[in-house]
């Protein structure tokens, strides 16, 4: 039975197209679209083509891009999306700030926070692997994490009370934020992992056709736990980087992150049914959206117009990718 909420049951695309990955026409078209957008923006809007503006765009894309890159793993494995991105990011930020406020050293607090995030992700992964729907599980996890974070922080802003993380938050090598480099690192490592490492390849295979993958003995449980742990880790990194920059955290941060991350994954062209796509394309999707928003802002378009255009772009992008995939069968 194939439905909108169980894409793993939908018919798979050709294996060849998914294994060619970022060298495929689809990735090229994503990058080409980005190139066209940048060209148009540069030609029509002088303020766009400056160094400062370029850095601002990339900085805006970086945090969403990090969360979206982690989310890509879940989508590639055929487990659809996670709705717990916002809650995980906020929880990560608050956890780090609280630990540091209680006197933990920055390094230890960092490790503990990321470890907790991996744990939260793994728990979601186990439940999904046992057969529960990822939408329900991540929805419940989001509520649980948000509630926990609220209770622990008493709803108030948490300040770290130290500048021990300034090495992460302040530097601007080449004028780019550290978040940008973290995103770059994640994209590079993910691409190598997904293309070369046995477990990484298994992720795409699981998403391509879950029944065959399980039947041929791929460790579905381990893969699922891994992808959810990675997504949770990346989401918490967003919270961590924010704390590093601002030295404070609240439970209500990153409100739009869940759907912004999903939008970046979709615009980047990763198939929601799984098996086809990459974190590189997702990063390109995040940059595309950030570039578009920046372009519209520079042209003085209102917030509502920018949001509406973003929505239309998502609809057009998913439709275009979908139609193109149908055509290739």
């Amino acid at each position: 039975m194939s439905t909108a909420l169980d894409p793993g049951a939908i018919e798979p695309e050709s294996l060849r197209s998914s294994l060619r990955g970022s060298i495929s026409w689809a990735a090229v078209s994503t990058v080409a679209a980005l190139g066209v957008l940048i060209a148009v923006a540069a030609v029509t809007t002088p303020a766009f083509a400056t160094d400062d503006n370029a850095r601002a765009v990339v900085a805006a894309a970086a945090l969403t891009g990090i969360a979206a890159a982690g989310l890509t793993f879940i989508t590639l494995a055929g487990h659809f999306v996670s709705l717990s991105t916002t809650a995980t990011a906020a929880a990560g930020g608050v956890a780090l700030a609280m630990l540091m406020r209680s006197g933990w050293s920055a390094g230890l607090a960092l490790v503990a926070t990321l470890g907790l995030a991996v744990l939260a992700g793994a728990v979601q992964g186990i439940v999904v692997a046992k057969g529960a729907n990822p939408i329900i599980v991540t929805l419940a996890a989001a509520g649980g994490l948000q509630g926990l974070t609220q209770v622990v922080s008493d709803g108030k802003e948490v300040r770290t009370g130290s500048t021990a993380l300034s090495w992460l938050g302040d530097p601007r090598p080449l004028g780019l934020t550290m978040a940008t480099y973290v995103l770059l690192l994640i994209v590079v490592v993910s691409t190598v992992y997904l293309r070369r490492h046995r477990m990484g390849l298994a992720v795409s295979l699981l998403g391509e056709n879950r029944k065959s993958a399980v039947a041929t003995g791929l460790p579905a449980l381990a893969i699922t736990i891994t992808v959810f742990a990675i997504a949770s880790l990346c989401a918490s990194l967003v919270g961590v980087l924010s704390v590093a920059s601002f030295n404070r955290a609240t439970v209500d941060q990153f409100g739009g992150l869940t759907f912004d991350a999903i939008a970046a994954v979709l615009v980047g062209g990763t198939a929601i049914a799984g098996g086809n796509g990459s974190p590189l394309r997702t990063a390109a999707g995040a940059v595309f959206i950030a570039t578009l928003m920046n372009f519209m802002l520079l042209r003085g378009w209102s917030y509502g117009t920018r949001l509406a255009v973003e929505g239309v772009v998502v609809v057009v992008a998913v439709t275009a990718y979908h139609v193109a995939r149908q055509g290739r069968r």
């Binding site: 909420l5 329900i136 948000q146 974070t149 917030y303 929505g311």
Partner: protein, 350 residues
């Protein structure tokens, strides 16, 4: 009689109501016992007011879930409808304003549903885009801030939420809408088509069930319900805000799931929807009566969802085992028919 023969009426395929009614009962008993104000008429009125809004939104996502899809744009659509209706009220009386807005929304929903059905695209990814786009439209239409109703129209606002016992025109309209949609879903051919495409898309296609009509209808209903919710909520509060109803989507999905609507499609009915919304609203009302903040309420609601998942899982495992037992019986009897000497007949259940 064939083993495992079952009727295919959507109501009998719905997840059991009794445990959920029991949960509702437990929640009520618990809060009535621990809070002095909980069992009063005025609290019941307040719960039903909250239920009215949540119930309509749950109906909206629920109907698309019956069809095996999910409409994520309901919150944004409600915001747009709220703004449009508040603006319409400056020139048009209440009932025409409501009808106009709801019909316009239904037309949008039908278009959205048709596009999704025609493209055979995943409705989640499609409606994420329309969710953003509609939210943008809300900001554009409202000039980025809440649109307030004229002072002299405020009696209209009050008329919607005036107390009629424990009900109000708002909650009564919602109950009527649920009865209407429930009737369409349960007793008409169009309703059966919705369950058919939700319960098994390839199977329904093979059986000759039209695909585009039921999906378009499901999305039209979800848009109309979301718009009605947005209109009634905005008009009764005196303003239409572009940033309104952002979090209601996930609460509505939770309510649908807790009420017993099947996430994969084809299962559930209006009782599941109403129960789910009532459970959540009663629970949240009781919690806030205890002084719990919004986020603690979220935590508790997440716990309810987790409970629903576990119950779901356990009953599904039991049903799988029962089915396996029955199919083994079936296979053995078939083997009997082919080679009666070889197959040992097991104890036969008539």
């Amino acid at each position: 009689m064939r083993a495992g023969a079952a009727t295919t009426r959507a109501t009998t395929m719905a997840k059991p109501l009794v445990p959920r009614i029991a949960i509702l009962g437990v929640i009520w008993i618990l809060f009535v016992a621990t809070q002095s104000g909980y069992g009063t008429d005025s609290n019941l009125f307040a719960v039903l007011q909250g239920f009215a809004f949540l119930g309509l939104m749950t109906l909206a996502v629920g109907v698309t879930m019956f069809a095996g899809e999910l409409d994520l744009s309901v919150g944004s659509l409600a915001a747009v409808a709220g703004i449009v209706s508040v603006k319409l009220l400056t020139t048009v009386p209440l009932i025409p304003a409501v009808v106009l807005t709801v019909c316009a929304a239904a037309a949008f929903g039908a278009t959205q549903g048709y596009a999704i059905a025609r493209l055979r695209i995943n409705s989640v990814v499609f409606t994420i885009g329309t969710m953003f786009a509609l939210r943008g439209v809300a900001f554009i239409l409202s000039g980025e801030s809440a649109v307030l109703m004229d002072i002299d129209k405020l009696d209209v606002s009050d008329s919607i939420i005036q107390r009629l016992g424990i009900f109000s025109p708002f909650s009564l309209v919602v109950l009527a809408a649920m009865v209407l949609v429930g009737g369409i879903l349960g007793f008409s051919r169009w309703g059966r088509e919705i369950y058919a495409v939700g319960g098994g898309r390839p199977e329904s296609l093979a059986a000759g069930v039209p695909q585009r009509r039921p999906i378009s209808l499901a999305f039209a209903i979800s848009a109309a319900a979301a718009a009605l919710a947005g209109v009634l909520a905005s008009v009764s509060s005196g303003s239409g805000a572009p940033f309104a109803f952002e979090n209601v989507l996930l609460t509505a999905v939770t309510a649908a799931l807790i009420g017993g609507v099947g996430l994969y499609g084809g299962r559930g009915n209006m009782f599941n929807i109403a129960l789910g919304a009532l459970i959540i609203q009663s629970f949240v009302a009781g919690l806030s009566g205890q002084g719990a903040t919004q986020n603690v309420q979220k935590l508790a609601t997440a716990g309810l969802l987790l409970l629903a998942i576990v119950v779901e899982f356990v009953t599904a495992a039991r049903a799988r085992r029962a089915l396996l037992r029955r199919s083994t019986l079936h296979r053995t009897r078939a083997a009997q028919a082919i080679e009666p000497e070889v197959a040992t007949p097991p104890p036969v259940r008539p």
